[in-house]
């Protein structure tokens, strides 16, 4: 609310340019944050491997563009879903520590990726990615896709039996097992969905910036965690939603943009964002009591 009010008073904020660039930036983080929400909601804290999965997926997408857009999208989503689902299997079926598993995946994907690409860039050949970076009507495609993903995610969490099971597992794993919520396969499902959401972000980013690159996913883990927490999802699991995650991402992007509009120096921008996130978290905690 406060952010919106300040925004209205800032010249330039209400322009189409400004709003679209906020929305676009929030869309990428939003997708990853939606993915992170599934992991957190199911009681597996956070994953540090979403960013690197995103990077690897941009390469898969770019490399398979010559086979056509749909093939590339399919390959990218299948890859990121598989990478995350494998981690979900270790966590869900074997009870491995989710954080260590994600760090292991981070290392292995980085190593394998460097090995396979030989540190060489991957360039899109042929076209097809353009429609993903354009606009439909007025809205940029990434924004529409992110909103769509959020709606689907929200639907899954609130309206499907899988979503209900996921919340049960995150809230009390043992009790969930007793009533037949199948914690192991539910966990795999949650990781798989997080992989899909991350894959969507990867496709949008690599289509928009026309490259597949191991640096593209840098920083998304922290950005997603921040969005999650600012949106008010419970880090211990069992409560939260994709909607909240996206609202968090949007809030952070808005603050960042306002600071550029005010012409604050880079260093002050960082400080103010930090303080704003802290305030958002504190105010929210105070509000919930």
């Amino acid at each position: 609310m406060a952010v919106a009010a300040v925004g209205l008073l800032t010249p330039g904020f209400l322009t189409q340019i400004s709003i679209f660039s906020i929305l676009t930036a929030a869309a990428f983080t939003g997708c990853v944050a939606i993915g992170m929400t599934f992991i957190t909601l199911g009681g597996n804290v956070v994953s540090f491997s979403l960013g690197v999965t995103l990077s690897a997926t941009t390469i898969i997408f770019t490399a398979s563009l010559p086979f056509g857009l749909f093939a590339a999208i399919f390959a990218a989503l299948a890859f990121s879903a598989a990478v995350m689902a494998a981690q979900g299997w270790l966590v869900g079926y074997l009870g491995a520590n989710p954080i260590i598993v994600s760090l292991a995946a981070l290392s292995i994907i980085t190593g394998a990726g460097t090995w396979i690409t030989g540190g060489q860039g991957v360039y899109p050949t042929g076209s097809g990615g353009e429609i993903l970076s354009g606009t439909i009507g007025y809205l940029p495609v990434p924004v529409m896709v992110c909103v769509g993903l959020m709606l689907v995610g929200q639907l899954i969490v609130t309206r499907t039996s899988f979503g209900r099971r996921l919340i049960m597992v995150g809230s009390n794993r043992k009790a969930a097992e007793i009533v037949g919520a199948r914690p192991a396969s539910t966990t795999v499902g949650a990781y798989l969905l997080s992989g899909v959401a991350t894959g969507v972000a990867a496709i949008l980013i690599s289509a928009r910036y026309r490259s597949g690159d191991f640096e593209l996913g840098n920083g998304y883990d922290y950005a997603a965690i921040s969005a999650l927490l600012v949106g008010g999802n419970a880090i211990q699991g069992g409560a939260g939603s994709p909607l909240r995650a996206v609202v968090g991402a949007l809030g952070i992007a808005t603050i960042q943009s306002l600071l550029v509009l005010w012409g604050l120096s880079t260093q002050l921008q960082y400080l103010v964002v930090g303080v704003a996130v802290l305030l958002a978290i504190v105010l929210q905690a105070a509000g919930e009591r």
Partner: protein, 303 residues
């Protein structure tokens, strides 16, 4: 002679295509000359790099080829390397402090001051060609805390502002991230909507491409014609070449990391052959890449 010499290469994350290119340049050229390279890579972590240098010094390598991840933080370990009489060749960025000049033998690579200047001059020329007498330009920069970006920024500003009427009105630090770059560019366009922005300098083609995205999203036109926003990039990358070909980007500058790696190894070999090295060997493009000459650069720019 260089045969059998052991070289330690210190570099940032090798999955980065620019740094991966340097790594390939160094390892291939060294193999051709019979030298053996061990790669020490770190995720842009100067403390780890300092430690790796110390380890390499303890292992008595014959030569260190080094990308200083932090120009300041390499000073203590390079002091120890000097004490152990191990020669150092720098790549990517030289050490600028006067006090650290005796810590390395030579710098081999691109001259970022020249690149920044050339970018500034190119921008000025493009602006003039498009009929601007006065123009506001913004810089979408890489990491400004140290390294290439601040050098390029300073040189660019100096070159551009030597043309009266042209001014750099803002520089935003994007940490080389395209998504940040697009947001920053978008906000800058909004902030200076009333004054108008005539040109954007994206420090590499990825950042320049992100700026172009922002321009398009804002309903404006990137290009070289009057009324278009002029974008100049750098580090010629595939997407830059493509953008020049389809007229969205005015220019970029040639900058090939594989060449840079080769140059460093050549100088190392010269040193082992007994030659006395200069303080710096610069690779600098003579002219910008524009629509006029883009065809020649398509191949070397996809490293």
């Amino acid at each position: 002679g260089p045969e059998g010499k052991r070289i330690a290469l210190f570099i940032g994350p090798t999955q980065d295509k620019f740094l991966g290119g340097i790594t390939r340049g160094v390892t291939d050229a060294a193999a051709a000359k019979g030298m053996k390279v061990t790669v020490f890579s770190s995720p842009f972590d100067p403390t780890l790099q300092a430690q790796q240098i110390d380890d390499a010094v303890a292992q008595k390598f014959d030569m260190l080829i080094l990308q200083p991840i932090s120009q300041k933080a390499v000073v203590p370990p390079l002091t120890r390397a000097k004490a152990a009489n191990i020669p150092v060749v720098l790549v990517v960025v030289p050490l600028t402090d006067a006090s650290s000049q005796d810590l390395y033998l030579s710098y081999a690579g691109y001259d970022d001051r020249a690149l920044g200047s050339l970018a500034g001059e190119t921008m000025a020329k493009q602006l003039t060609d498009a009929g601007h007498k006065e123009a506001n330009v913004v810089i979408v920069a890489g990491s400004m805390d140290e390294g290439k970006a601040p050098i390029r920024q300073k040189a660019f500003v100096a070159a551009l502002e030597s043309h009266p009427g042209f001014k750099v009105v803002a520089t935003e630090d994007t940490k080389w991230n395209p998504v940040t770059a697009e947001t920053m560019a978008g906000q800058l366009l909004a902030r200076f909507a009333s004054k108008g922005i005539a040109g954007i300098y994206g420090m590499n083609d990825t950042l320049a491409n992100a700026s172009i995205q922002a321009i398009v999203a804002a309903g404006l036109k990137p290009g070289t014609k009057p009324g278009n926003i002029i974008v100049v990039g750098g580090n010629c990358q595939g997407v830059g070449i493509e953008n020049i070909k389809n007229g969205k980007m005015a220019a970029t500058l040639f900058d090939n990391p594989v060449d840079e790696g080769k140059l460093a190894v050549d100088k190392a070999a010269d040193y082992f052959n007994g030659a006395k090295l200069d303080k710096a060997y610069y690779l600098t493009p003579a002219e910008p890449i524009t629509s006029a000459n883009v065809a020649a650069f398509e191949k070397p720019c996809t490293y």
